[in-house]
């Protein structure tokens, strides 16, 4: 008797409607989950394929130098900011070290600020590097590699020149020279 009641319930139209609805909901949930996962993966792939920042407003950051001074890019509007990513273990960085110091020496009194960002480095070696190359412009570690990640750098050295209006004027991927930077600075200072 009981069994036949169960069987009759299972074959009733309302039971089949509920079961059908449950199946549909399950399918919708699985497909939604898969779609979310695919969208997430697509976004991550897109972000990784973007490459370094090339134009527009560069990502803002706050750098605390080895000597304890703090610089926030968005608060430096009105002056040209050169952002240089480097590391003590990086040989190409040594090729441009003297040129960057010369740029700082020649332009620091003309509203140009040069900031060195030390990427994935150890403090002692970084300080030795700065002392070896007589670097006097502000330098600080990229704590948590947050700044380099926001600029999506591919390696070091990389140099970014930010205009007085806070826009990216030029980026150099790989080592650069005094002449390359000076041309951009002169053009921006003449405006």
């Amino acid at each position: 008797m009981g069994m036949s009641r169960i069987n009759s319930t299972k074959t009733s139209p309302s039971y089949s409607i509920i079961r059908h609805a449950k199946d549909k909901l399950g399918q919708i949930a699985v497909w939604t989950l898969l779609a979310t996962l695919l969208v997430f993966l697509a976004i991550k792939l897109f972000q990784s394929s973007l490459g370094p920042v090339r134009s527009g407003t560069p990502p803002d950051f706050t750098l605390t130098t080895f000597s304890g001074q703090t610089y926030t890019l968005s608060e430096l509007k009105g002056q040209i900011v050169i952002v240089n990513f480097w590391a003590s273990w990086c040989d190409p960085c040594k090729a441009e070290a003297a040129d960057l110091e010369m740029i700082w020496h020649d332009y620091k009194d003309r509203d140009v600020l040069l900031l060195g960002i030390d990427y994935a480095d150890t403090k002692d070696e970084a300080l030795t590097y700065l002392s070896t190359w007589n670097i006097t412009y502000p330098n600080g570690p990229d704590v948590g590699t947050r700044i380099s990640q926001s600029y999506r750098i591919r390696g070091v050295p990389e140099t970014y020149i930010v205009t007085q209006d806070g826009l990216l004027a030029k980026s150099f991927i790989g080592p650069t020279s005094y002449e390359n930077i000076a041309v951009i600075l002169e053009a921006l200072l003449d405006k």
Partner: protein, 163 residues
């Protein structure tokens, strides 16, 4: 006789003295610097962002050599493995850890694969069950056709008898 005894005693005391100072020398030569194995045990749990997918213990770049030296320094200073990993995580970001901590968005890395496997298995089981049901329905359909044929044969036979 006495001379020999004195000589023996002298030689014996010299030997004991040498042994003592020799062993003392060895003790003094030892220091608290960690072994390469101890450094590598932590290094293999870290990845430097410069050389992707290569653990620190297997990487030969200058950056990784510097990082391993830092591990050695921290171990010499008495830091624990967890403290050193935390230091590297703070200094260079969570991405340097071989095993990211199970918190925040990182939970996805730990829970998504088994969850996907579970969902996938359920889908396969469900699909198999559905296929089996369809086959059964088909079988029963076939047996009904067989029955029908038998009935058709019987009717035809009876009709022949009537004729």
């Amino acid at each position: 006789m006495v001379k020999t005894w004195v000589t023996r005693q002298f030689l014996f005391s010299m030997f004991v003295t040498c042994m003592l100072f020799g062993s003392l020398g060895n003790v003094l030569a030892q220091d608290n610097s960690p072994t390469d194995d101890e450094v590598n045990a932590i290094s293999k749990q870290l990845y430097c962002p410069v050389c992707e997918s290569i653990p620190l213990d297997a990487c030969g770049t200058q950056a990784c050599i510097q990082w391993r030296d830092t591990i050695r320094e921290k171990l010499s200073a008495g830091w624990s493995e967890e403290e050193i990993k935390q230091y590297f995580s703070n200094q260079y970001g969570v991405r340097v850890l071989a095993e990211p901590p199970i918190k925040g968005f990182n939970k996805l890395l730990w829970y998504l694969p088994p969850f996907s496997l579970l969902i996938g298995s359920l889908l396969v089981i469900r699909l198999l069950a559905k296929t089996r049901t369809n086959l059964n329905t088909l079988d029963s359909g076939i047996s009904n056709i067989d029955n029908a044929d038998r009935y058709v044969d019987r009717i035809e036979n009876e009709l022949k008898q009537w004729e």
